[in-house]
């Protein structure tokens, strides 16, 4: 599997560039790496809120939540989530939060 290096850290990633080590390998540097990758200018409290909700749900259920659940728990409408993560909740936000890529036709 390919690896990426960022700020002295090495990450193993899958074919789509998602973190392979899961939440154990997840760290501040990974977040900064995905921020740069996604072209996000500045990380705000709102980004962190989405990341936290995704990780909490993942720890409980082993999968990423549906968009409606993410909206409901964060209080952000879907449009807002797309503003925060331009490539969307599945590809952008899940990647930054260290979750695996959702495994459906999304």
């Amino acid at each position: 599997m390919p690896t990426v290096e960022f700020k002295g850290k090495t990450f193993e990633v899958d074919e789509d560039g998602f973190l392979l080590g899961g939440l154990d390998a997840w760290c501040q540097e990974w977040v900064e790496y995905v921020k740069q990758l996604e072209g996000i200018e500045e990380l705000t409290e709102e980004h962190w809120k989405v990341i936290k909700v995704l990780q909490d749900y993942y720890k409980k259920n082993g999968v990423a939540p549906m968009v409606r659940v993410l909206s409901k728990v964060t209080g952000f409408p879907l449009k807002k989530i797309y503003e925060l993560f331009p490539s969307g909740p599945g590809k952008g936000a899940c990647k930054m939060a260290g979750l695996p890529k959702p495994t459906g036709c999304v």
């Binding site: 082993g62 999968v63 968009v67 409606r68 890529k101 459906g104």
Partner: protein
């Protein structure tokens, strides 16, 4: 070796084609399957068959002798080649290259359908199995459609896929199948969340359709409906299209609270066991809920996979339950006069994209392709209509079929779609109607952006739902 066709043998021995097929299946007639719907039969076996029927052999043994002598150079190759067990099959392909010129990804990784057929004939199995090309192919069957010798190229590519070591298959496909088998749907949506979402959406829809409720696990409902997990996960609004139609026609329908997945990725990876397990769950639901009919999944691949599995492994379910494709159901509603559609809500030139699985592949594999139904329904809603060229059986793939949508070969998928994009552009249509989730997402999100199409893309059932005129009574 004799090269035979089922219908020729059937005629020769005065039996039905299926009888010959059954003999081959049961091993009574030891024939090997080859490309182009031909079988290879040993001269001795043919003579034995003639003797059993008291007939004089009509065929000449010379062909067999010729084949024997031609065989020698191939003996240098590995003794048994799992892709093409007999090199005489190589003769069927004329190497004309029609397939290679029809294939939108010819040249990617230095391969094309003709090379793949030749490599298989030469016994280069390992190279083929290890190459990613078979996974970049969208299984659209444009190559087969153009082949003058009817070589079954897609079947060969599926076989190459199925022989790939399971740990070398594109990761997303494997993870999707595993999640579906373990958790009941590809995205692993928990039951509790799923049911809460459906109820929430139903309340929203009830504002527009008074009294609407979503029927979950309703025993004795006529129609069982599946759901593509992508919809509740990422686009819950789109679930309402069918719901609105069911409301308008007063259908008796239900969704199962478990095993409702309408996606079947076993079809992409050559995992027959997974395909069977996923369809088996739908059959169980039909029995458990005592339904009369099944609406086959919407996405092209899942429609075809489900129907194939039903035919192969659940023939009793085919007899017991009425099986609808999305086209069959919509046409039934229209023919019964249950749907009233407003043709004024979608002005502007509209075109229709043929899904390869509903059209070309379905025609080839099941003997029945859906080409006209989608056009009839589209034109009832969009009278200003234009067809792409070529269309129907000759249509080009969107580029995202065969699992390409979920595999990590994004650049190839977009490259593949360039011909589709050109076809759309040439129609000058401002709207494209589709019948498959992958086609829709590929055209709407990728071809629109990469090739600056600027078209609106709608599912056929979305178009119907948006054109519905509710009976004032």
């Amino acid at each position: 070796m004799l090269e035979v066709r089922i219908n020729e043998l059937a005629e020769e021995f005065g039996v039905h084609r299926n009888t010959i097929r059954n003999w081959i299946k049961a091993g009574i007639l030891p024939a090997q399957k080859g490309p182009g719907r031909r079988y290879l039969l040993k001269w001795a076996d043919y003579v034995a068959l003639c003797e059993r029927f008291g007939k004089r052999p009509r065929r000449l043994p010379e062909t067999a002798k010729e084949e024997e002598s031609k065989k020698s150079p191939y003996r240098l190759l590995p003794p048994s080649t799992p892709l093409y067990p007999d090199p005489s099959w190589a003769d069927i392909c004329l190497t004309c290259g029609a397939c290679a010129s029809a294939c939108p990804i010819s040249g990617v990784d230095g391969l094309d359908p003709r090379k793949v057929v030749r490599m298989a004939a030469l016994g280069m199995d390992e190279e083929l199995i290890n190459s990613d090309w078979a996974w970049k192919c969208s299984l659209c069957a444009k190559c087969e459609e153009s082949c003058p010798m009817k070589v079954e190229i897609v079947q060969l590519i599926c076989r190459i896929r199925s022989l790939r070591p399971r740990d070398k298959i594109p990761g997303p496909l494997v993870r999707g199948i595993t999640t579906c088998l373990e958790k009941g749907n590809n995205l692993g949506i928990p039951k509790e969340d799923f049911l809460a979402l459906l109820k929430y959406l139903a309340r929203e829809l009830a504002e527009e359709c008074p009294g609407f409720e979503v029927p979950i696990d309703v025993h004795g409902a006529r129609l069982l409906v599946t759901i593509n997990s992508k919809e509740p996960f990422a686009e819950p609004e789109s679930l309402k299209y069918w719901w609105k139609i069911f409301y308008a026609v007063k259908e008796s329908w239900t969704i199962s609270s478990e095993y409702w997945e309408g996606v079947n990725w076993g079809f992409f990876s050559g995992n027959e066991e997974a395909m069977r397990a996923i369809v088996g769950r739908l059959v169980d639901n039909l029995h458990r809920l005592n339904c009369e009919a099944l609406l086959l999944p919407e996405s092209g691949h899942a429609y075809l996979a489900t129907r194939l599995v039903l035919e192969q492994w659940f023939p009793e379910a085919l007899n017991k339950f009425k099986i609808y494709s999305v086209f069959d159901l919509l046409m039934e509603y229209l023919n019964k006069g249950l749907l009233v559609l407003d043709a004024k809500r979608h002005p502007g030139l509209t075109t229709y994209h043929d899904s390869c699985n509903y059209g070309r592949r379905s025609l080839k594999i099941l003997g029945r392709g859906y080409f006209e139904e989608g056009r009839i329904i589209t034109q009832l809603c969009c009278p200003d209509f234009v067809d792409m060229q070529p269309n129907r059986n000759g249509n080009y793939c969107c580029g995202a079929g065969g699992g390409a949508w979920s595999s990590p070969y994004k650049a190839e998928r977009i490259f593949h779609g360039r011909i589709k994009a050109r076809q759309i552009k040439e129609t000058q249509a401002k709207r494209v109607i589709v019948t498959c989730h992958q086609c829709r997402d590929q055209i709407k999100f990728f071809l629109n952006k990469e090739y600056e199409l600027g078209v609106e893309v709608k599912y056929l059932w979305e178009l119907v739902a948006d054109s519905l005129v509710f009976d004032p009574s």
